[in-house]
């Protein structure tokens, strides 16, 4: 199991936009360059890249929740 950490503090989002599905669902293939979520800070949305490959094993941080740098956002098997 690999953990994807947040690179910076802010608000974490699972979805590219409120009316769209999450970036990843359980079991989806994950490549290192894939975006798994967004962190919003200073009016900017930063794409969080997986940086690892595998199979998506679920979000750890809730959608629209505050996160600190280094918090685990999601897991990859």
């Amino acid at each position: 199991m690999k953990e994807i950490p947040s690179p910076l503090p802010g608000t974490f989002y699972h979805k590219p936009a409120p009316d769209q599905p999450p970036f990843k669902a359980n079991g989806d293939a994950v490549a290192p360059d894939d975006t798994i979520g967004l962190v919003e800070v200073m009016k900017t949305f930063i794409e969080v890249k997986a940086e690892v490959a595998g199979s998506f094993a679920g979000y750890v941080a809730q959608d629209s929740s505050p996160v600190q740098a280094g918090d685990t956002l999601a897991k990859v098997e």
């Binding site: 910076l8 608000t11 800070v41 900017t44």
Partner: protein, 323 residues
């Protein structure tokens, strides 16, 4: 020599102590949000205190050095790495030509200051190298740094490595943070109960906080004293006939979310202001992470002036420690 920006981080910008003297024309002073951290970084590398540094918020950049230099990183707590090896913050570090500076995840605070011996030597605008993107002034063509930029660095006699700001002279942000406020001219616009709630409740830093202003959420909406809007004021109860804003002034549009204006502040507008965060606590705002709990504490002018003198004394202790 130059600094090659390999990765820019997030809105990493060149800042010094700003360009005072143009606020009446709408051009803010700008400069480092945490001025003490910038001064300390420069002192560590043997620069003038006001030399231009890089200010990076939340996420560190990656920088390659084309010549040997002394560097120092102050402000937020973020692991400092040279070619992957970790070095302490608030300490002078020697780097060799070709080495790469990078950073780990932010641990505390919000903004780091990266000083290099000689100082960043981009062209000044109106007496300062500080980046003011809205006015396209200073920095690199008036903008934040980007990957591929090569920043010129001034000459330096160099500075010894290993000197460090003593830990007790580094200011940490308390949690909840306490921001002292001098109540201002327009506080009569809200009811006594609203005033008591504003200073009594806990607020949180909103994620959209930036160099212009820091927004807060989580407290109760303010109740206004009923009035007939004066000629020239908007119809919202939070509107006034346009007035001047000061650095640190706290406006609360529609009475819902307070905004503290910071170094890249707008100079005036039509919202009432409760008061202003005292100058001694402005640096601390630059180190607030999103979602940090904050209390606003009302203080008198005497307390504000004493706090300013205390900050000046703290800076003098750093100067003496590194002198």
């Amino acid at each position: 020599m130059t600094l090659k920006i390999v990765k820019p981080g997030l809105a990493t910008s060149i800042q010094d102590l700003g360009r005072p003297g143009y606020f009446h024309l709408g051009i803010p002073m700008g400069g480092a949000m945490d001025r003490l951290a910038l001064r300390a970084a420069n002192l560590l590398v043997g620069n003038d205190e006001g030399a231009a540094c890089l200010e990076a918020a939340f996420l560190g950049p990656e920088i390659e050095f084309t010549a040997p230099a002394t560097i120092a990183v102050t402000g937020a707590t973020m692991p400092v790495k040279v070619d992957g090896a970790e070095h302490p913050g608030w300490t002078a570090i020697a780097v060799k030509a070709g080495q790469v500076l990078s950073f780990g995840y932010l641990k505390a605070g919000a903004r780091i200051y990266i000083a290099v011996s000689g100082g960043i030597a981009t062209p000044p605008a109106l007496g300062s190298r500080s980046t003011y993107p809205i006015g396209a002034l200073g920095g690199v063509d008036g903008r934040a740094v980007q990957a591929g930029d090569e920043l010129p660095v001034g000459r330096s006699a160099g500075a010894p490595e290993g000197r460090s700001v003593p830990p007790e002279l580094r200011r940490a942000v308390s949690r909840p943070a306490e921001l002292r406020v001098l109540p201002g001219l327009y506080i009569h616009r809200i009811t006594d109960e609203a005033r008591a709630r504003f200073f009594g409740e806990e607020w949180q830093v909103a994620p959209e906080a930036d160099r212009m202003g820091v927004r807060f959420r989580g407290g109760s909406p303010l109740d206004f004293v009923p009035r007939t809007p004066p000629f020239g004021a908007g119809s919202d109860p939070s509107n006034i006939v346009d007035g001047c804003y000061s650095y640190g002034s706290i406006q609360v549009p529609s009475g819902t979310e307070p905004i503290v204006l910071h170094r890249d502040a707008v100079s005036g507008g039509g919202y009432f202001t409760i008061g202003a965060v005292i100058s001694a606590d402005m640096d601390q705002i630059g180190q607030l992470q999103p979602h940090t709990p904050v209390h606003f504490i009302p203080v008198s002018m005497e307390t504000a002036l004493a706090a300013r003198a205390e900050r000046r004394a703290a800076l003098n202790r750093i100067r003496e420690a590194l002198g």
